[in-house]
């Protein structure tokens, strides 16, 4: 199969404008004849659903939470980037584009990233119009802060709750369309399969989580905006419900999964404290604007932080990366933390932690300044650790946070299955091998507000509406398969919870395919995962009969998918014999421990296609074309 990125011709800066003009349109009166199914109501899904409904399409939305407003986007803390250059500090669309391409270690598609930077400015305007209360200066203008991997201040924020406010904005636009009858919302409804009819995505099979009923929905197009798969590592900063089920089911129906091994480990999270722990909590990257990261110079130094004099502290990011300092990108900051802890200089229980210290900033600007800027993050830290971060430095350690990999999409955000569009964290498109902070919110909203409303129209203009119903054999068969699988889960009747298997899988993934990977560790993981999967189908216990609300059944289904998907992730990691961004292969590093890319052999997107149960997936390569940027050594020194 040939993967065609469908990047329009012409100079980089003109591609999107030109493409927008050349795309076909659907006549306003015809739009309401098309039904669009949007799975996921996070930033990407909610913004797409609202925008498409405003245009006149009939939209149905699905999410597993009890309200669209609770999608995981709600938890994003730090901010959203946009190339507004309000600070007059030299920002521009091109600079945001370049920072993002470089941040992704030259593994993303140029044209997509440029478009992202281009529409970033419209996002802020749109959100302000909806009433998103972004932080303001005293004069009433929008305020900015800095995020990692950038030397300009281009991040817009709402205290430490930016994702919440952006999502509430998109959700309110969605609410308006629901009240107008243009959107039908299905909360507490989980997509369990994709239905492909005649080679085109035509619907989904869902389970109503309240009644347990399995049924189908037909549409003229299916949009997946189902988020990322970090919880394949069990412990992550993601919400408990985040899962790979929707995208993995689409993969099993033929959609290519691109770069699954590109996972992001965030440097500043609250360290693991016990084996009962169910998730990890992020301390936003924005804290690195005012916090300084350090460890003692001497291994095994057990003194409390206030007893360690300045001269015996190693501010290792400032030392190693003088031009970016504490704002070095995430992959680099995480590996640096691992390195100092491996040297025995880590702090806190188990030696897996480094200090994030605000005392300088508090001394310089006062406690109130810090409280106004990060109050809720400090409170969150205090809740969890029972320590007062205003008095003693925070202890932090890297944790799984974001997944750059996802379903393969072309420039129009359409997968290789016609009619299946993928948006937000669920696709692979814009962040290459490492995402810069405050860029996921930007991408989700760019996809939903400003890209898919155009590109979907172009696709639909070429197909007549309707023509397929839920009674088609493809739907009946998919429903049957979903029901059979649920029955199979209920029939195992073992006595180990799905959580137990999930935790075991997480350990394998973190140890063998985490911050550092090697051929040896990956082969070990690839031997262990199938064993664990087999054990799951033998010993897992799912009480109940599958009717009504059944959190245990939901969880078991998601864990079963993770147990398959984990293997795909490791296969991808093993095949990529280079280090880039978040994918760090121990065999491929420079003498000073930096990632060593291999552009000659690996400057491509690895898109994997399902070949059937127990068969290895097929690899398709989309070569990355560099028309404007010349991939260089990624240095932040």
């Amino acid at each position: 199969m040939q993967l065609n990125s469908n990047v329009p011709p012409g100079p980089l800066a003109e591609k999107w404008q030109k493409h927008r003009f050349e795309m076909k349109l659907v006549n306003p009166a015809n739009k309401r004849k098309y039904k669009i199914l949007v799975v996921g109501t996070g930033l990407a899904g909610a913004s797409a659903a609202a925008s498409l409904a405003e245009l006149g399409y009939q939209v149905e939305t699905f999410c597993f939470q009890d309200s669209p407003r609770r999608a995981h986007s709600i938890a994003a803390q730090g901010g959203i980037n946009a190339a507004k250059n309000y600070q007059n500090d030299g920002d521009s669309v091109f600079r945001l584009f370049y920072d993002t391409i470089k941040g992704g270690d030259f593994r993303a598609r140029e044209a997509n990233v440029y478009r992202l930077a281009e529409v970033s400015v419209n996002i802020i305007d749109q959100c302000v119009a909806q009433g998103v209360p972004f932080s303001r200066e005293y004069g009433g203008q929008l305020e900015n802060r800095s995020f990692g991997g950038a030397q300009v201040s281009r991040t817009f924020y709402c205290r430490g709750q930016t994702g919440q406010q952006l999502l509430l904005g998109a959700y309110s636009a969605l609410c308006r369309q629901i009240s107008l009858g243009n959107v039908k919302s299905h909360p507490r409804t989980e997509m369990l399969d994709l239905v492909v009819v005649g080679g085109r995505a035509r619907g989904i099979v869902v389970r109503d989580l309240v009644t347990g009923q399995v049924s189908s929905y037909v549409g003229d197009a299916v949009l997946l905006a189902t988020g990322g798969y970090s919880p394949v590592y069990f412990l992550s900063t993601n919400a408990k419900g985040c899962n790979v089920t929707a995208t993995y089911r689409a993969f099993k129906r033929g959609a290519c999964f691109a770069n699954p091994c590109y996972t992001q480990i965030h440097p500043t999270c609250i360290p693991v404290t016990g084996d009962y722990q169910s998730k990890l909590t992020l301390m936003s990257e924005s804290l690195r604007n005012d916090g300084r990261i350090w460890v003692p110079k001497t291994p095994g130094d057990k003194r409390s932080p206030d007893q360690i004099p300045e001269s015996e502290r190693d501010y290792y990011l400032e030392r190693r990366y003088p031009s970016f300092g504490n704002l070095a990108p995430r992959d680099i900051a995480s590996r640096a933390a691992k390195m100092v802890c491996d040297e025995g200089r880590g702090v806190g229980p188990g030696g897996r932690g480094v200090y994030l210290d605000f005392s300088d900033a508090i001394r310089r600007r006062g406690e109130k300044y810090i409280r106004d800027k990060y109050g809720n993050l400090f409170d969150m830290y205090a809740h969890i650790t029972h320590e007062d971060p205003y008095k003693t430095p925070m202890r932090i350690y890297p944790a799984l946070h974001y997944t750059m990999g996802g379903l393969w999409v072309d420039y129009n955000l359409m997968s290789n299955i016609p009619g299946l569009f993928v948006l937000g964290e669920a696709n692979f498109s814009d962040h290459g091998a490492n995402r810069l902070g405050a860029s996921a919110l930007m991408q989700g909203l760019a996809d939903g507000y400003f890209v898919v409303p155009y590109t979907l129209g172009n696709f639909l203009a070429g197909c007549a509406p309707g023509g397929v119903s839920e009674t088609a054999p493809e739907f009946k068969q998919a429903e049957q398969e979903v029901s059979d699988r649920l029955k199979k889960l209920l029939a195992i009747k073992g006595n180990r919870s799905a959580t137990w298997f999930h935790r075991e899988l997480g350990k394998v993934m973190w140890d063998d395919c985490g911050m550092a990977r090697s051929e040896k560790s990956l082969k070990k993981a690839l031997a262990r995962i199938p064993e664990l999967r087999e054990q799951f189908w033998r010993e897992a216990g799912v009480p109940g009969n599958g009717q009504g609300l059944s959190p245990a059944l939901e969880e078991a289904g998601r864990v079963a998918d993770f147990l398959e998907f984990a293997e795909l992730l490791c296969i991808d990691a093993l095949h990529r014999n280079e280090s880039c961004g978040g994918h760090f292969r121990e065999e491929y590093q420079t003498p000073d421990g930096e990632a060593q890319r291999n552009d000659a052999e690996f400057s491509y997107v690895a898109a994997w296609q399902y070949q059937g149960q127990d068969k290895p997936p097929a690899l398709h390569k989309e070569p990355l074309v560099w028309e404007t940027v010349h991939p260089s050594i990624r240095s932040y020194k």
């Binding site: 009890d66 709600i74 419209n122 609410c175 309240v210 408990k240 016990g274 959580t499 009480p543």
Partner: protein, 265 residues
């Protein structure tokens, strides 16, 4: 640590519920309340029994999914902090170290006519979504928005709007109120948009429609007990209720466009 739990078990929306007793043993003081429930549930699953159903997702106090009445208090008893303030938190931000070893804990769902129980500790809060659909938005279609700095918003107003906008929609305010009133929730949204300049064109119809929908959903009246403010994990101030009441009265004097819902859509 160990605890005796008394948990509301109800197998479905129309089933009768009852309190059932469970022992939680080997509890680590640093466990969150939900992690303690995870452990109890794993034991139930090992015995082939249905685990206790409860809503949760982010587990860091922002999504508003979780909500259990613990010992009569929505989101559980609140500590007094070192600075004298009473802690504001969600169920998922409750830690076992804040209880005493051997304590009996009573776990119940939000109790309110407008929040029917779905199962065990899970309730149906879709009434909140319908209130939002009635008017909790600014009608601004995608595209064509003016530059973000075209409207200057005094920092003071933006901060105030943000104080209200922080509401996570968990419903603890309703659960805490003797009348099961949703005034704090509605007031937070009405105020968030009503304070900002962008929210002015629809200010009158917004407050009227949202309040009408709130009444339709069967939430009770506000009689100023102010338990809602005490229970709110985001410290939404009761002042917003006063503000909404003023707005509502003022709106009655306005010429409301009532023909189509959804504003200019």
């Amino acid at each position: 640590m160990k605890f005796t739990l008394h948990v509301w078990r109800q197998s479905g929306p129309n089933a009768r519920g009852e309190m059932k007793q469970y022992e939680a043993t080997g509890v680590n003081p640093d466990m969150s309340f939900l992690e303690m429930l995870d452990v109890v549930n794993q034991e139930l699953i090992a015995r082939g029994e249905e685990p206790i159903a409860f809503d949760h997702d982010c587990r860091e106090g922002i999504c508003g999914s979780c909500g259990i009445v613990i010992n009569g208090v929505p989101h559980g008893p609140r500590r007094r902090l070192a600075n004298g303030k009473i802690e504001a938190k969600t169920t998922c931000q409750t830690y076992m170290r804040d209880f005493t070893d051997g304590q009996h804990l009573w776990l119940e769902p939000w109790r309110a006519g407008a929040f029917p129980v779905i199962k065990d500790l899970v309730v149906d809060r879709s009434a909140f979504d319908r209130i939002m659909q009635a008017g909790g938005y600014i009608s601004a279609n995608t595209g064509g928005a003016p530059d973000g700095n075209a409207i200057l918003i005094p920092k003071r107003d933006q901060e105030k709007a943000m104080d209200a906008a922080q509401c996570i929609g968990c419903g603890a305010c309703v659960a805490a109120c003797k009348n099961a009133s949703a005034m704090l929730f509605v007031a937070a949204k009405v105020s968030h948009l009503g304070i900002l300049p962008q929210g002015q064109p629809e200010r009158a119809q917004r407050v009227v429609r949202m309040v009408e929908q709130m009444d339709k959903e069967g939430f009770g009246n506000c009689t100023n007990y102010m338990e809602c403010e005490a229970a709110c994990p985001k410290e939404i101030s009761r002042q917003f209720i006063a503000r909404m009441n003023r707005d509502y009265l003022w709106a009655q004097t306005q010429d409301l466009e009532t023909t189509s819902s959804g504003g200019a859509g």
